[in-house]
Structure formats: C-alpha cells, structure tokens
C-alpha cells in the first residue's frame, strides 16, 4: 500500500507550485481533493491543449478529485470547513491578506481540527515589506539571482526555462508537510508551515552564495556569472561537456591520457598544461579560454566516441540533447530507464503522457495505477453526499452558484 494511503489532503491552490506539491502527495497515495473556484484553476485555460484539456493542468492535477465551490459565500465556506474537519493536510496559496479576509487562517483552522497541517505557499512570505506583493515564476527568478547566471553581459536577459521557483516551493512544501505529518503521527498535533517561492529558491541557492562568502577571495571558478554562455565543445555531431573527477592530483593522469587518445598529445609538451590541464576543461572562464584548442581535435570525433574514450579513462561527460532527442516518439533510452514517463488516462478517453514523481518507481512508496485529471467539479456531488448533504440541497447549492 502506498505510504500516504490514509492521508486526506485539501488543495486550495491555483497555478503551478501548490498543484505540484499536491501532485506529489497524490503520487505518495494521499487522497487529494482540489478545491477550485467556480471558474476553476487558471491553469485549465493555459498552455497547449490535448483533446480540449490543458496539458499544463493535466500534468499537475492527475490522481486528484475536484470540487468547485465559492468559499467566499458562507454556505461554501461551511463546506470547506467540513472538508477540513476530516483532513490531515491543507495546502493553500491564497496569500496572507486574502486568507485573512476569507477566514482561511491557521488560528481558525486549528479550532476546526487540531491535527490539521496547514501549509501556506506565498510568493515572498507572510511578513516583511513584500508580503502582499504578487509575483510569478519570472519575477522570483529575477529577484533570487537565477538570471544572473544566464545570457551574456550587454545582451537581453535569459530566464531558466523550467519553472524552478515554483518547483523549489513545491518540493520544499512537500518535504515540510511530510516532516509535519511524521511529527503529527508521534505527537497527535498539527501545525502551520510557511513556504515561499522566493525563500525556497534562495534556500537551494546557498550553494553558490557560499562561493561569495569572502568577496575578496572570489575568483570565478566553475560557477561564473560573468562568463559567456556555455554551449559545450563542438564535435562531429552534438556538442559535449566532459571532465575528470576526484581530488586535484587524481585528475592529472586521466587528463593526459585523454589528450593522447584524441590526438592532442603535443599539448602536454607545455608542462603547465600537462600538470593543470584537467582544471581547464569543462565549465568556467579557464575552460572557455582553452576550448578552441581542444576543439581542433574534438571536431574529428563523434560525441559517442568521445564519451567512450572519456569513460574508459575514468572521466565523465555527456552530450547536449534537445527535447526531440529525449521525448520524441521513441523516448531516449536513458529517459526510458527512469520509468518516470507514464501513460495516464485522459478525461476524454485514451491516454496522455506525463512525468511521475521521481521516487515513485524505485521503492515501496507510491501509487502504481493512475487516474485521469478531474474535470472542474467532477467530484462535487460525491464529496457532498459523503459529507451528508441531501441531493435536493446540493441542487439548491448549484442553483445558487455555491457549488458546481
């Protein structure tokens, strides 16, 4: 049985971060009820569609149920309250002011259900000058420094194309909820968790901040924001990156062997390059300076051959692959091996392809059969009936625009 088989989650979120957190809870077996506004999650209208359904919405909302209700109205709020009475977790991204107006605060929730874990996801946090400032993926990337490490000085800026700010918040809110669930099992108590997109991305970025701990000592290195864009080494076909592992002294021999194997033996006549060359391949300014010299030989080899040579002498590397190479009709064998691409039932019948949680298929943790992403309000009736609502009253609620 999946880990969270008896865990009930209310997802009161719109867009990517909260839905992605809910998705991972669902992948771990939780019963996730997506509480949508009467208009539905805004993602339903965004991105390219497959048979009339948003690919973005479907990728993040499979294996959940949907109830559409107007929780701004007292009858709607009462339904939310009843759902929370039976829930273990609520994930919401209403924003601090909005949540206060709607009565969606932890103080209120705790009175309803003291075991409830309330995870709030906001752009910048629930206090401080930016607490009410709206933001999207792009603004968070800009503020957290992501765009500093892309593009070229003097040219227009470049963002990370993946939704890494939302991804970081989804990942850290999910782990925060899991930790709180574990504590709840031991103590019987719920609590509030706050996670922000900005704080999450900054948290992951401690690794590069570390390099600037002493600005006087900063010397570029592998993660150089001021370097030119890195496109890899030209080969006969696809560009590659490669390098040698271990402590400094362990890298010298493989580097020299590499030079001999690819036809760059004369480079080693320079004692400095023979000694320190391993530090001038790969990424960073030194590597970019040295690149044209190496490319004179590398262009004679295919990327596959160069990988073989590199691996044989204990080095490592990879080619630059695009989405066509990886996710075309035939999945790339390495993607295939991850078992992370699933065929999920489509709401209109048939199947669509989606990415599954990364820990799901390699342990006794996750679900192995999947349900189609719900239509807006698909489960409203079922859920209300289970809460004890009579069909006639549900009909009245629908007529009054309280539920859909």
């Amino acid at each position: 049985m999946p880990v969270l088989a008896q865990t009930s989650v209310i997802e009161l979120t719109d867009g990517i971060a909260g839905s992605c957190c809910g998705l991972q809870l669902a992948d771990a077996g939780a019963d996730v009820i997506k509480v949508e506004s009467m208009l539905g999650d805004s993602l339903r209208e965004l991105g390219p569609k497959i048979k009339g359904h948003s690919s973005l919405f479907m990728s993040l909302n499979r294996d959940k149920r949907s109830i559409a209700l107007d929780y701004h109205k007292p009858e709607g709020y009462k339904i939310l309250e009843q759902l929370l009475r039976q829930a273990d977790v609520i994930v919401e991204d209403l924003g601090i002011s909005n949540a206060g107006i709607l009565g969606c605060t932890y103080e209120k929730f705790r009175q309803i259900n003291s075991k409830l874990i309330h995870c709030s996801i906001t752009p910048y946090g629930t206090s401080g000058p930016y607490k009410d400032l709206p933001a999207s993926e792009l603004e968070i990337q800009g503020l957290a420094g992501s765009m500093w490490f892309l593009g070229k000085i003097g040219e227009s800026p470049v963002r990370v194309a993946s939704d890494i700010a939302s991804g970081a918040a989804a990942s850290l809110s999910f782990s925060g909820i899991l930790a709180a669930l574990y504590w709840q099992m031991l103590s019987g108590e719920g609590q509030k968790i706050e996670v922000s997109l900005f704080g999450s991305l900054l948290s992951l970025y401690s690794y590069w901040m570390a390099d600037f701990s002493d600005p006087d000592n900063y010397s570029g290195g592998a993660m150089d924001p001021y370097c030119n864009p890195e496109f890899g080494y030209q080969t006969k076909d696809k560009p590659i990156l490669f390098g040698f592992f271990g402590r400094r002294e362990d890298r010298k021999e493989p580097w020299q062997q590499f030079c001999k194997s690819v036809g760059l033996a004369e480079l080693l006549e320079d004692p400095f390059i023979a000694e320190h060359g391993a530090g001038m391949v790969g990424v960073g300014q030194d590597a970019q300076d040295m690149k044209p010299v190496l490319e004179t030989a590398l262009v004679n080899w295919s990327s596959d051959d160069l990988m073989k040579i590199t691996w044989e002498i204990g080095g490592a590397g990879a080619p630059f692959l695009g989405y066509e190479d990886l996710f075309g009709e035939n999945l790339h064998p390495q993607v295939e091996a991850t078992e992370i691409v699933g065929d999920i039932p489509h709401p209109e019948g048939g199947y669509y392809r989606a990415i599954l949680s990364p820990w799901g298929n390699h342990g006794e943790l996750g679900i192995d059969t999947h349900n189609a992403p719900p239509r807006l309000g698909q489960d409203t009736n079922d859920i209300l009936v289970k809460l004890g609502y009579k069909e006639s009253y549900i009909k009245t609620l629908k007529e009054n625009g309280i539920v859909k």
């Binding site: 209208e45 503020l143 892309l150 593009g151 930790a179 590069w208 402590r247 669509y352 820990w359 342990g363």
Partner: protein, 382 residues
C-alpha cells in the same frame, strides 16, 4: 534539538553535493546527522574559490552534522561504520552503482545489521540505461536531461545554467522527501526499505511543465530568452538606464491595468492582437516592442515603483549584492552568515517556518574527524 524530525538519526556516506545536501536538510529539520568522511576527503574540499583552505561548496553541503573520518578498508573502521549503520534510521549514499557495496556498506550489508534501515541510494544517471555507470555532475545532468536545451537567447542555442549545482540541490530536496516517506512507511508498517532517487529523474521532474507542453505539441519554441511559454507579456524589458525589469501579465484585466500604468494609447488597448493571453502569446514580439518603447523612457527603479503602485506583477533582475541589500531580504533576514571553522559562510535562512516545531539555527560545518570521540561514545552507549 527541535524540529519535526527531532530524534531521527541519519548516517551520511555521500560525496559531493547531492547526498550531503540531503542530510544537511534533514539536519535542519531536526534530525541528528553523522557524516562518515573517507581518509582522502571529499571532491568538493578543493573546489575553488577556496576559503581558508576549504572549498565553500563542501562547507555549505555539510552544515549541521557531526563528522567522523573512517577508512572503510580498515576492519576496525568498517566495524565502527557498521555500528553507525545500526544506530541510524536513515542512511544516504550517492556513489556510483556498486561502490557502497564495495565499501561494505551496501544495502544488503546494512540491512543484515539493521533490517529497519531506510537506505537511500542516489545514483546519478540511474541504476539502469546506457548512462547507468557514468559519473554524474550537475552540468552533465543539465545537458543530458534537456534542461539546458530550452533556455538561451530567442532563436539561439540552448545554454548551460552557470549556477552549476541547482539540479544537485533539487535532487537533495527530493531525497529528503523519499527519506521522510520511508520514515512514515516504517512508522506504519515497521518495515525498512531501499529507495532509489535518481539525479537524472529529479531533473526531468523539475521540467514537468515544459515537458508537458512538448508532449502536447511534439515541438518547442524554446529557447525564448526571458519570455514565458505560458503568459504574454512575461519577460524582461529594457529601461532608460539600460537595466531590465521583469513584467508578467496573467489575464486580460491585468493587461488593461498595464496599458493604463504605461499610459499606452487607447488604440493599443483595443488592438485585437493583444485582446487575450493567447493572442498576446501569438504576437509576443510586437507586444514586447510596444511595451519596451515605453519602459525605455524611464529608469528601472522608477518603473518598478510605479508599476507596483498599479499592482502590476513586476520586479528587478538581481545579482548577489542586490539580493543582500534588498529591503525584504534584510527585514526578513533571508540571507545569513554562519560561523564555521574556515570563516563566515554566506547562506540563506531556513526555507520553512513551522509553528509548533521551531527549527534550530543552522550549526556551522565541523572539521573532518572533529567528532570522533563523541561518535565513538554514541556507539558504545548503543
């Protein structure tokens, strides 16, 4: 010790960033972490820019843990490692497939001593597929997973994200999830297990939205510079001082507000090409030129103040020094300095706030082998 994982014991036999990053996060959440350092140290120890003789990436990945140096080829040291494996609830390793086994700390070795262990392996590219045995560094994962292929100047080639380590830490965060899932599973069933979290898989999961778009259309317009695939406008615009600001408009109402805030012509508000998000996406470049012709009339800081007054989603593009000086970052103390044996480490504060299980402040990294006596005592008391 406080935090929701108070009392949980974690053994770190990882290398570089991925495994150690995960155990650091578990430590922040309240777990007690012991790291076993090999006699030759770790590959990150001499990664530039060195900080008083230690690589800052190593210091960063090994905060908040105890450290013992063991030579696992030595029988006595291996015995100590096995005792620690008995002590632990969770063990995390991210060596190449087969290495932990060779060191005598493979899952079978550990499960024999401690059947309830939650044993997490994070083999870079995975334990299957053509790259199964290949060492994985962040940059190789970036280029083999497609992550790098979709970003860059519009119409140009895909470029590497030069803040190399994002995918490493993204994997660390996923390992934390798997570890706690394993704990919850064990709490319910009394059964431990081995879980694999592949670096490569977590990189694919991070691209979930972009891959979904590709599966829908079998094509991609990326790279698109600073522009989003989902909304238009959602991109950077040049200002009078040659700095750029980010602006994102997610619906028509916000679009009208932006037109007003930029005092754009009524003609533009009525322009059919910009009448819906879909139309704005289709006409992205003419839309961008229209907006930028206005933003270039004022400096970036002024536009941000002005647009925020109109509740437009917007923001600056920061470098580290800007982040540190940002009023919100300062007010909320989002960037901190942690005392370590090699000097003060620049770091961000905890990404979580828990109302009932407050997290302890982050403890500085210990020197390799610093906690030998204490760790030996822990084993003796078992």
């Amino acid at each position: 010790m406080t935090g929701p994982l108070n009392g949980v014991k974690v053994l770190d036999i990882g290398a570089y960033a991925v495994g150690p990053g995960a155990t650091a996060y578990l430590g922040f959440l309240g777990a007690d972490v012991i790291r076993i350092e090999g006699p030759n140290g770790d590959g990150l120890m001499d990664a530039d820019p060195m900080m008083n003789g230690m690589g800052p990436s190593y210091i960063n990945a090994n905060l908040h843990k105890k450290n013992i140096t063991l030579n696992l080829k030595d029988d006595k040291d291996l015995k100590t490692a096995h005792s620690l494996a008995r002590w632990a609830d969770i063990l995390i390793e991210n060596r190449l497939p087969g290495v932990a086994e060779r060191l005598g700390l493979g899952y079978q070795d550990v499960a024999t001593i401690n059947p309830k262990i939650i044993y997490i392996s994070s083999p870079g590219f995975g334990s299957a597929g053509p790259y199964a045995k290949a060492p994985a560094l962040d940059q190789y994962i970036q280029i083999l997973s497609g992550f790098a292929s979709i970003q860059g100047q519009e119409g140009g080639k895909g470029e590497l994200f030069r803040a190399i380590g994002h995918l490493d830490w993204n994997t660390s965060a996923s390992i934390v999830q798997a570890a706690i899932l394993g704990l919850i599973y064990r709490h319910k069933t009394n059964i431990g297990q081995r879980i694999e979290v592949w670096h490569y898989s977590t990189a694919l999961f991070l691209q979930i939205t972009r891959i979904a778009e590709f599966f829908a259309t079998s094509a991609t317009d990326l790279p698109l510079g600073s522009a989003s695939t989902i909304y238009a406008p959602s991109q950077s615009f040049k200002c009078l001082d040659n700095k750029y600001i980010n602006i994102t408009i997610t619906n028509d109402q916000e679009w009208y507000s932006l037109c007003k805030a930029l005092t754009l012509d009524e003609k533009i508000i009525q322009d059919k090409r910009f009448s819906s998000n879909n139309n704005r996406i289709k006409n992205r470049s003419v839309l961008a030129n229209t907006i930028e012709s206005r933003t270039q009339e004022g400096p970036a800081w002024w536009w941000i103040k002005h647009l925020r007054k109109h509740e437009i989603v917007c923001g600056p593009i920061y470098e580290l020094q800007d982040i540190i000086r940002d009023p919100h970052v300062q007010d909320q103390q989002l960037i901190i300095r942690i005392d370590t044996a090699w000097g003060k480490l620049l770091h961000s504060s905890h990404p979580w706030k828990f109302s009932e299980t407050n997290l302890d402040p982050i403890q500085g990294t210990h020197k390799p082998g610093q906690d030998k006596e204490e760790v030996i005592k822990i084993i003796k008391d078992l």
